[in-house]
Symmetry: C2
Subunit: 289 residues, 2 copies
């Protein structure tokens, strides 16, 4: 009693104010703090659902349409195949792509640069949010740079395996006879690092929004993989964990670019093997309504 009776209105006010600030801070910071704590970058939970958009937050062109000014509209025409030809083409394209596998044993045989350039040009036809084309394909053929990349990746990978990965993970991977040593980073004639431009730079140095840049660049990567399979070359889709900044600096990419994927490209080596994976059946991935 003595204690409270000694509270002057002045201090009651201060205490009330501070308590209010604390509660307000907790309420606002709360949900985000939770997300921060449970966030695991290799799961996409940290990509906010677009449905979380709040009134007034602004919005995007949901059809990924370009925003150039005074854009002309021109007639569109496309190849039209007879139905039986369509069915045949669709089946053959599936059969071609169904032979694609992620291959970790890549031969050092040289590959014509013109082929790589055409594969990248094909990837560059992908649609992108508001036609921002937010991708950069860095083609590394210099053996010294390839080796520097390998050193950076294996260094981080070793830490991943030894410190960052749970025991279950390490055991799973042991079973798969994989570790942090990646010969293909030296042997593959090309290492292709795909960067997403998280924003663009306008002439006045203002930032240009790159709508859905990660989805756009990933779609371009899908076309890249199809184009690669079409010419008989192999790769393994990799997302080097924690190497982004060091590789960005090594390759002198600007701050608006973040490494999304690294694809070693070449012919498979003679003794290449792949894990005996099965793919889901059509009925497991498709629903008819």
């Amino acid at each position: 009693m003595e204690l409270f009776s000694s509270l002057s209105p002045f201090f009651v006010a201060i205490l009330g104010l501070l308590v209010a600030i604390i509660l307000r801070g907790k309420r606002r910071g709360g949900p985000e703090k939770a997300r921060w704590e449970e966030s695991r970058p290799w799961v996409d939970e940290d990509l906010r659902d677009s449905t979380e958009l709040q009134l007034g937050e602004g919005a995007e062109d949901d059809e990924w349409q370009g925003l150039e000014e005074n854009l002309q509209h021109v007639p569109f025409s496309s190849e039209r195949y007879p139905e039986d030809e369509m069915v045949k083409r669709s089946r053959e394209f599936y059969e071609l792509l169904n032979k694609r596998r992620s291959v970790r044993y890549i031969s050092d045989e040289p590959v014509p640069r013109e082929v790589i350039d055409n594969v990248i040009k094909a990837a560059g036809t992908a649609p992108s949010g508001a036609h921002t084309e937010p991708w950069t394909f860095v083609v590394v053929q210099d053996p010294n740079v390839k080796h520097k990349i390998r050193e950076i990746i294996e260094e981080e990978e070793e830490v991943n395996y030894k410190k960052r990965m749970g025991e279950k993970w390490v055991n799973d991977l042991k079973r798969l006879r994989t570790n942090w040593v990646k010969d293909y980073l030296d042997t593959a004639p090309y290492l292709i690092l795909i960067f997403k431009q998280v924003y663009g730079l306008l002439p006045d140095n203002k930032r240009k929004t790159h709508y859905y840049n990660e989805i756009s660049v990933s779609i371009a990567c899908g076309i890249f993989l199809a184009a690669l399979q079409n010419v008989g070359l192999v790769t393994v889709t990799s997302t080097p964990l924690n190497c982004g900044p060091r590789l960005r600096v090594l390759l002198q990419r600007s701050l608006n670019e973040k490494l999304l994927l690294l694809l070693p490209v070449g012919y498979p080596s003679k003794d290449a093997t792949v894990p005996d994976l099965k793919r889901k059946l059509l009925d497991e991935i498709r629903v008819i309504v």
Copy 2:
């Protein structure tokens, strides 16, 4: 002076404690709060850079390798083309895909289901984090369901245009003669909604991590677009803003699935037009090292 002299050690302690709590809260909540306030779901800034992974947070299989137990490794072989044939195939594939455009005028002519199935099977050959194949392709051909989808999307779109989008946006879009009325949602013979499975469900009802599920599904979408172009069909890549949950419920997808993309598929209508966009040149998207 009178004021401070009246501060008893007891209140000094309480005040100090509360101030400390506030500062601590600000420091911890600060960065996240900032991200929350500036967060715009259609920009991928909210996808945390994988380089932010902290020690002990765990990690992923950076090569997207399957995690099945006792997985056998089998010899891999692939088609090998002579160099001139490779160059030819790579050029022709680029030329085919370079004709692809996002088309918003879709004919109601029927398209063989077998073609759509093969296109989806091709998309299903995409690589995925730890071979989780985290995609569901919902093929909507029922005219009533298509119309319900249109009602949901146009309703949300109207709000986007009228309330959520900045004035600049609305003006940009006026220039492009686009609005929230989307006839193709009724006319296209198929609406294909691509859902990402943000996590899987194990027999024991535990959640299975789906590594990089959004990147994986987007890569599959890239292959889907290539397969569609290969048979002479058109679509427009769209990300219906704020419609995810309502469409998920309408199509009775489970809680672990989130709508990523909606693709109306069909032949282009006779009078189809497209904005006269140009694509970046090879030298603008490719860097040689």
